[in-house]
Amino acid sequence: MEIEALKRKANALRGDVLRMVTLADSGHPGGALGMADVLTVLFYRFLRHDPLRPDWPERDRFLLSNGHACPILYAILADRGYFPKEELWLLRKLGALLQGHPSTAWEIPGVEVSSGSLGNGLSVALGMAMAARLDGRDSRIYCSISDAECQEGQPWEAATAAVHYGVDRLCAILDWNGCQIDGHTKTVMDVGDLAAKFRAFGWNVCEISGHDVDAIVSSFDAFLGAAGSGRPTFLACRNTLGKGVSFMEDEPKWHHGALSPDELARALSELGVVLPR
């Protein structure tokens, strides 16, 4: 998909995210809106996958370690044809396919790992990357993590091991939006310069605006070019929580919470999204 089409697609997906959360009357819209651009570029331009064969062994994997941001993942998976779009509107209801956090136990097509408890995903991604290498498969493993998730210890254990084992088909995508549940990350628990920290751990680091689609494209290209470098790639995306909706942007309270019908209408009109009838 070309740059302009990617931008339009990301915006349409933002509209889906907001409708899902409004209908569910709960959920996490903020991080999801912030990650829309980078995940759209990944899923519509780089990821090698087949929605008709979600378990195709040669596929690339995307793991959402910051599982609460799943509305954007679900919106993408539906749009790519993993399951009918109607499922989006049943999010978080009893018996629904789409659980409040990603679940492989629930067999949500396209979901690669159960998440929701922060800190676990990067280790699983590393294991998948090591397994692919051992199998001689050319799978690339992408894993998103959030900035507040880096307050946990485990991501740093994975960060150390990924360099030790020289796993260069692993790309971590940081949702660096400076927000968490109790407020801005700087006031709650400052995580400092995460790009510098991962660089010090030995990763290839690209630091970009996560809303600059051209920059996202070149960074993923650089990751592909890093094959054989013996180093994992850290794509540090400076994102804005709630991106695209003025009253949500950089407001930690939109980490979770449903919009009122009125707020939804305002948000969709700001995004230029027209509801299908």
Partner: protein, 314 residues
């Protein structure tokens, strides 16, 4: 049976802790990016210098709380039950339970009633994980009145660590305002002669409703509030079982390892009695609203009535 008042156990905890902070300058409160959700934000507002948000770092929080306790403070460490007991179990075991360090672990959002967030967040194994630890005390308040009383108890309990299990939802008030909590005592809330329902947490209100429904069928149920899961009130439970000769246990938790297991262990060794355990039957939950989930998994008055009839048919 209709309950007149509903209140969150976490709300009662937050309000009581903030109040206690004025009485006791050695109380400190810690959380892991969940100040608002655990209601420790109320303490933070009134005692900012004794409140510490550790970020999303539960293992670190438990270690830091241990350090405070070992230096003469009275720390309360609060996060969701799934993270307090899951993410940090090893730290709780090594630096809190084993050395018998009086950290007050007050966990919120336990059980199915977490609701829409789904199975990843619905902690249904915490009673097991905490109960197996030597030195650990485990309490599940039945309502907000008991949650407030238990918070006071925990603050003064310097003998060892305490785990208190609280919830997200507002639960019916089942106890009287003047209620006094006593560790290891499980008051009989309603007497009966045919079957004993030994319940904790939100299941106590369901047990009282079930008692009324059973009464219409001529079955007299006794309701025991087993908030003190460890130590268990052996005398009360054994005496009740002796009287009714049929026991139903009820908890918003896996049937393996929690209150039901504790009661079965006691009865098997001291007074073999038919038991039916109501709880999660070795499965994870799913997304849905709290009420819908409780009904779906049979953790409500109707589930308890069916269980009572099953145990009486044996």
């Amino acid at each position: 049976m209709k309950f007149a008042r509903f209140e969150g156990t976490r709300d009662a905890y937050g309000a009581t802790l903030a109040k206690l902070g004025h009485e006791d300058p050695r109380i400190v409160a810690l959380t892991a990016d969940l100040a608002g959700s655990t209601k420790t934000s109320l303490f933070a507002k009134e005692h900012p210098s004794r409140f510490f948000n550790m970020g999303v770092a539960e293992a670190d929080m438990m270690g830091v709380a241990a350090g405070f306790a070992m230096s003469g403070f009275r720390p309360f460490a609060s996060t969701f039950a799934v993270f307090a007991t899951g993410k940090a179990w090893e730290q709780v075991r090594q630096v809190i339970a084993y050395p018998k360090v009086p950290v007050r672990i007050v966990a919120t959002h336990a059980g199915l009633t977490v609701g829409e967030d789904g199975a990843s967040h619905q902690m249904l194994e915490d009673l097991t994980l905490m109960r197996v630890l030597p030195h650990m005390t485990v309490i599940v308040p039945a309502d907000a009145i008991e949650a407030a009383a238990v918070t006071r108890f925990a603050a003064s309990h310097d003998e060892g660590p305490v785990y208190v299990r609280l919830s997200r939802e507002k639960f019916p008030i089942v106890l009287d305002e003047g209620y006094a909590f006593e560790l290891g005592k499980s008051p009989i809330l309603a007497a009966g002669t045919d079957v004993s329902i030994v319940a904790c947490g939100v299941m106590v209100s369901a047990a009282l409703q079930a008692r009324e429904l059973l009464g219409r069928d001529g079955i007299s149920a006794e309701v025991v509030n087993a908030s003190s899961v460890k130590p268990l009130d052996r005398e009360t439970i054994l005496a009740s079982a002796k009287k009714t000769r049929a026991v139903v246990t009820a908890e918003e938790h896996q049937v393996a390892g929690g209150l039901g297991s504790a009661v079965c262990e006691l009865l098997a060794e001291e007074r073999p009695t038919p038991v039916v355990r109501v709880g999660m039957q070795d499965e994870f939950g799913q997304s849905g609203s709290a009420d819908v989930l409780l009904a779906h998994y049979g953790l409500d008055a109707h589930g308890l009535v069916a269980a009572a009839k099953r145990v009486l048919a044996r």
